[in-house]
């Protein structure tokens, strides 16, 4: 099918419409709430609509790697930078994720009781524009640019609307993430310089490297920069400390978009750029990736169990689940990377759902301390149902998308004799997540009312989920269940793309389990030298 000329322009509108809506709202301090919501609805609804439309008309590209390609000069052609947009089987699921989560977050944010709501919505819309751009970019420069573009509003939003100790968290998160972004930028530039392709475009870089592979030492070093740079952005153990606190204080909209979508930038970078272009680098750093990812799963998992604060618990759980995605990418096979991709999408949906619901719970309990809650299900059964759905999704119950991600990653790990043992410690994570997930449900919703509610239950009427909370939650749950029942709607397109990028036979070395036992204990130092 010939793509009509105008279609790629619609891809551009998915980025521009939220930005424009944000700009309008920026100067809209006098707008009536109604007008504000209309603009916001349009700004978030349009990318969502576009994402759905592009999915429906997507067909695997016949020539080249991307559909709906749009290439515009930017004035930087001399160094090979174009505004190059397009979608393929790997970016499409993430593009949809950004559309869906953005829409849900936007709907919820429109009714939030934040001060200066026009500014709040405007910043969220800027984030949304950046997110759509990140996953629609074919050009590495813009891929990076849009990410930073979406990152900055996050910091501002935490600084203005965050919870207690927001300033400290905002600064810590800013410095940490900027450092990570800087490392990955260095890596990307080094990659650009080393290949000598004179282009920032994914497919061109790939073709260039396929023709003339990089030297092994260069691959190793560049991969390290990318791994730890992106790793910081994705909260790879032990570079995770920005995440739980940052998410705990972030305003709901920002937490949803960041934890749900923006964080996937790093993983996307790893699976789209670092792993396929630098296979020797991956195989060198493979043991590191495995040990650190196991640190994410087991150590952070246990830490999650110890949390009493619901948002900290969710923040840590999000860190923990990133470990699976890292393991999936580390296997360097279409199965593992495909699993990581499914995991990224499903986790994005479930964690943003849970962050949103935890705010809903807070509005009813006025505390984040789970031990002080209890018995909320009698008053808010719908909230309870959604929360249980979110938790069940996040702990990988079949029927939700997350299950396919985890399961496929386990399958990929078991494929090779040498990495088979990793399945066993990694699978222990599903017990750990069941423990903290069900404990949270039990202590918030079941049992007798805790002291946070004891008074309220009698005096004020604690209401069940309102419509403006129910609707975004329903969008996310429907997306999760759809993915869980029909994983092929995403995996088939991805599979076709991954088959091109990843070999069917593995290249990974065996891990000597004794030599690396100390890795998890002191990885911080190693990073500082890079």
């Amino acid at each position: 099918m010939q793509v009509p000329e105008t279609l790629p322009l619609f891809l551009l509108t998915a980025i521009l419409v939220p930005l424009l809506a944000g700009l309008v709202l920026l100067f809209g301090s006098n707008f009536a709430p109604f007008v504000r919501r209309i603009i916001g609805f349009f700004g978030f609804g349009w990318p969502f609509l576009m994402a759905m439309m592009f999915y429906c008309i997507y067909e695997p590209p016949v020539f080249g790697d991307y559909r709906f390609e749009l290439k515009r000069p930017t004035g930087l052609e001399s160094i090979g930078i174009y505004l190059h947009l397009g979608l393929n089987g790997i970016s499409l699921p993430l593009f949809m994720l950004a559309g869906v989560v953005g829409f849900a977050a936007g709907l919820y944010a429109m009714y939030s009781k934040a001060e200066r709501p026009h500014l709040y919505l405007a910043l969220l819309l800027f984030m949304q524009g950046g997110l759509m751009g990140t996953f629609a970019s074919v050009d590495v420069f813009f891929f990076y640019f849009f990410h930073e573009f979406a990152l900055i509003p996050t910091f501002i939003m935490i600084g203005i609307w965050g919870g207690t100790a927001r300033r400290k968290a905002a600064i810590e998160m800013t410095i940490y993430l900027t450092f990570g972004a800087l490392l990955s930028l260095l890596g990307l530039i080094a990659l650009y310089a080393q290949t000598g392709a004179g282009s920032f475009s994914f497919p061109e870089l790939r073709d260039y490297i396929a023709a003339k592979p990089l030297e092994e030492i260069a691959q190793k070093n560049i991969f390290a920069l990318l791994l730890f740079g992106f790793g910081i952005l994705v909260s790879l153990f032990p570079f995770h400390s920005w995440a739980p606190k940052g998410y705990a204080v972030a305003p709901t909209g920002a937490a949803m978009l960041h934890a749900g979508v923006l964080k996937k930038f790093g993983l996307y970078g790893l699976l789209q750029i670092a792993a396929p272009l630098l296979p020797a680098g991956l195989s060198h750093w493979f043991p590191w990736m495995v040990w650190l990812a196991l640190g994410n799963i087991l150590i952070i998992g246990l830490i999650t169990i110890a949390q009493r604060d619901i948002k900290m618990m969710l923040g840590y759980s999000s860190v923990m689940h990133m470990g699976y995605a890292f393991l999936g990418i580390a296997t360097f096979s279409a199965v593992g990377v495909g699993g990581a991709l499914l995991m990224m999408v499903a986790h994005g949906l479930s964690i943003s759902l849970l962050f949103m619901l935890s705010t809903c719970i807070y509005h009813r309990s006025h505390t984040f301390d789970m031990h002080r809650m209890g018995g909320l299900a009698t008053k808010a059964p719908v909230l309870c149902a959604f929360f249980v759905a979110g938790i069940m999704a996040s702990i990988g119950l079949p029927g939700f998308g997350n299950f396919w991600g985890e399961f496929t990653i386990f399958a990929a790990l078991a494929e090779m004799e040498t990495t088979r043992w990793i399945v066993i410690p990694a699978a222990l994570g599903i017990i750990i997540s069941a423990i903290y997930g069900l404990r949270a449900v039990a202590s918030i919703f079941f049992g007798r009312p805790g002291d946070a509610f004891a008074g309220h239950f009698k005096t004020t009427d604690i209401r069940d989920l309102r419509n403006y909370e129910r609707f975004p939650a329903a969008i996310l749950v429907v997306a999760l269940v759809t993915m869980g029942l029909f994983p092929r709607i995403l995996s088939d397109h991805a599979d076709r793309e991954l088959a091109k990028m990843y070999p069917s036979e593995s290249i990974l070395p065996a891990i000597d389990t004794t030599a690396y036992n100390k890795v998890t204990a002191k990885p911080e130092k190693e990073d500082a030298h890079k």
Binding site: L302, A306, P398, G399, A411, V423, A434, F446, D492, S504
Partner: protein, 616 residues
């Protein structure tokens, strides 16, 4: 309709019903219960249409679920003789329990949630029964775990249900981890997880059988069927409504573990089978003993379920999967009957569950009492009732293969008769011990009807000859081979005598020991230490609890502290502080006072001079 369509309809109708109830009938309890019961009836119809259509032929059907690289997951049905037998049992018992629930749950505030949960459960259970590959079994396996969680937590306001639902799910998850690992290993070991293909592969090449994979897969069974050491969740699961206990925690879900083993019987090497035989025997004895320490009518039945599951496991381990399956089916009938009877009693006694506070129910609830007694006799294996045939077969298999297993299982049969006798004599005979027992009333007809029907099945369920055609292929086959095995005649006589002695001594002994309608436990009064020992259940709960509190929680706390102190405090803040320190030092050079600059100038000058004359 073709067979496949009927099966799909049987599988998906309850899902649709659950979704409908969840989204639209949340506040309409009556309508929701009607929808759910109608669904259960529809499943029966669809299942029997499938049964009729298949004519005993195996029907297989699959479509792609997920393809990534060389990893392919399919979803499909393998509707063979075993699946047909299991499906028939599940839908019939399921329907009767749905019917019973109409009466039992009348007046419950959250009826819609309850019946929605039952529908989800039927969906997941039928999924397990029909699934044609390990991955699909795992999917539905987890889903039954979820529906069990949801239904145990039905009375979530109570502390008991809150803890029990969580415990059931987590303990099952522990087993499922092993199951999952087994599946992914099996996938690459055999190149498939399709049951039919696996069987074909293994039958060609016996070398392919792997003990470790079988052991991993067995973990799933241990969790779901509540075998040692993951048995602790089942007694606690009695916190759910009684129909749930009957359906999920006695008749179907816990037995799904055995069914799963039967589905993959060809993957088991002899060593793992032996392990299972001893495991099952140990559980049968252990649970039988624990039942003596319980006063709660449902808990006694729960331990009885554990013990009977042990019998099934032992039979499977003895290499007689068909006989295990036979006991599964008959057990489903009489145990569902017993649980529903207990439900009727609890309903009649205004939620009194302590047997020593009942008494005299025979007069007040005659139908319930008599049907309960029939179930009891079937469970004890009285000659002519369904339980006799299956238990007899297990004991014969034991006698012929392993004397120790036989002796211990016979002892288990004696224990079974003893604790069941204790329950019946104390709760149903004598005089009422409490106000609630005094005012007990016979349950409404809607609850008695399932009891009567199940009593019929408990009596006649053991006559495999009268089963519908095409059902119970493996069972009949195994029974046949057992009957024609060498030494059968001798074993049969031994078992007939030993088995009969076991139940006679058990029932009569408990009558004289405890006394009809006793108000207190004589064992507790006379032999306190023994009773306390039995009540302690070998302290498994305490051991696990202290592991969680002392080890896991402390480790989590320690790691959490290290995370904040070491990683965040020392590394992150430390490096930030280092940079800050450099800043402070640099800033201190610019104090803005002329004195300061003079001193620095002097210091610089000296440094320069020292360098210039080459002191370093």
């Amino acid at each position: 309709m073709t067979v496949t369509q009927s099966l799909l309809a049987a599988l998906l109708t309850p899902l649709v019903s659950a979704a409908w109830i969840c989204f639209f009938l949340r506040r309409k309890g009556v309508l929701a219960s009607c929808v759910s019961v109608a669904t259960a009836a529809a499943i029966c119809v669809f299942s029997f249409m499938a049964l009729q259509g298949s004519q005993g032929q195996t029907v297989a059907f699959a479509w792609d679920w997920l393809n990534l690289g060389n990893f392919n997951v399919r979803a499909g049905f393998l509707f063979d003789g075993n699946a047909a037998t299991m499906l028939s049992m599940v839908v019939v018992v399921g329907f009767l329990i749905h019917l019973f629930s109409l009466g039992y749950m009348k007046g419950d505030k959250a009826r819609a949630r309850f019946f929605g949960g039952l529908s989800i459960f039927m969906f997941s259970m039928i999924g397990i029964v029909l699934a044609d590959n390990l991955i699909m079994i795992y999917v539905f396996w987890e889903l039954v775990g979820f529906s069990s969680y949801m239904l145990i937590g039905h009375y979530f306001e109570t502390e008991e249900a809150r803890a029990a639902s969580k415990k059931a799910f987590i303990v099952n998850r522990i087993g499922d981890v092993g199951f999952l690992v087994g599946i992914v290993f099996a996938y690459w070991h055999f190149g498939t997880t399709d049951l039919a293909e696996l069987e074909a592969l293994v039958s060609v090449n016996k070398e392919l059988i792997s003990g470790s994979i079988a052991a991993f897969l067995m973990c799933g069974f241990i969790g779901k069927s509540a075998q040692f050491p993951l048995h602790i969740w089942l007694p606690d699961a009695m916190a759910g409504p009684t129909p749930v206990s009957a359906l999920i925690h006695a008749a179907t879900m816990v037995a799904a573990g055995i069914y799963f083993l039967i589905r993959i019987v060809f993957l088991f090497p002899v060593e793992v089978l032996d392990l299972l035989a001893y495991l099952g025997t140990a559980v049968a004895l252990y649970a039988g003993l624990c039942a003596y320490g319980q006063n709660d009518i449902k808990k006694i039945l729960a331990y009885s379920t554990l013990s009977q599951l042990g019998y099934m496991t032992a039979a499977f381990g003895l290499g007689q999967p068909g006989i295990a399956f036979f006991h599964l089916i008959t057990h489903a009938f009489f145990k569902a009957l017993l649980f529903l009877g207990a439900g009727s009693v609890i309903h009649g006694c205004h939620h009194e569950q302590d047997i020593f506070r009942m008494g005299g129910l025979l007069k007040r609830m005659p139908v319930t009492s008599i049907t309960f007694f029939i179930g009891l006799l079937a469970l004890c294996g009285i000659y002519g009732l369904s339980g006799f045939y299956s238990k007899d077969a297990i004991l014969i298999a034991g006698e012929m293969n392993d004397q120790w297993v036989f002796i211990l299982l016979t002892l288990g049969a004696f224990l079974t008769a003893g604790y069941m006798g204790r329950l019946f004599w104390v709760a149903f005979l004598g005089a009422p011990k409490s106000e609630s027992a005094l005012q007990a009333q016979e349950s409404p007809f809607i609850m008695l009807l399932p009891l009567l029907l199940l009593a019929g099945l408990s009596i006649a369920g053991g006559f495999t000859d009268f089963w519908p055609e095409h059902l119970g292929g493996l069972i009949k086959e195994n029974l046949d081979s057992l009957h024609h095995a060498q030494g059968y005649g001798h074993a049969h006589h031994v078992v007939l005598i030993a088995g009969s002695a076991a139940w006679v001594v058990g029932l009569v002994g408990s009558f004289f020991f405890y006394g009809a309608g006793a108000g207190e436990d004589r064992l507790e009064r006379k032999f306190g230490p023994v009773y306390n020992f039995l009540k302690s259940k070998l302290w498994f709960d305490e051991i696990y609890d202290s592991y969680v509190a002392k080890v896991q929680q402390r480790l989590a706390g320690l790691l959490s502290f290290l995370d904040i102190f070491l990683i965040k405090g020392l590394f992150v803040c430390g490096s930030a502080a280092m940079i800050g320190l450099v800043g402070i030092c640099a800033r201190s050079l610019h104090v803005g006072s002329i004195h300061g600059y003079v001193y620095w100038f002097l210091a610089g000058l000296i440094l320069f001079w020292v360098a210039a004359i080459g002191l370093f």
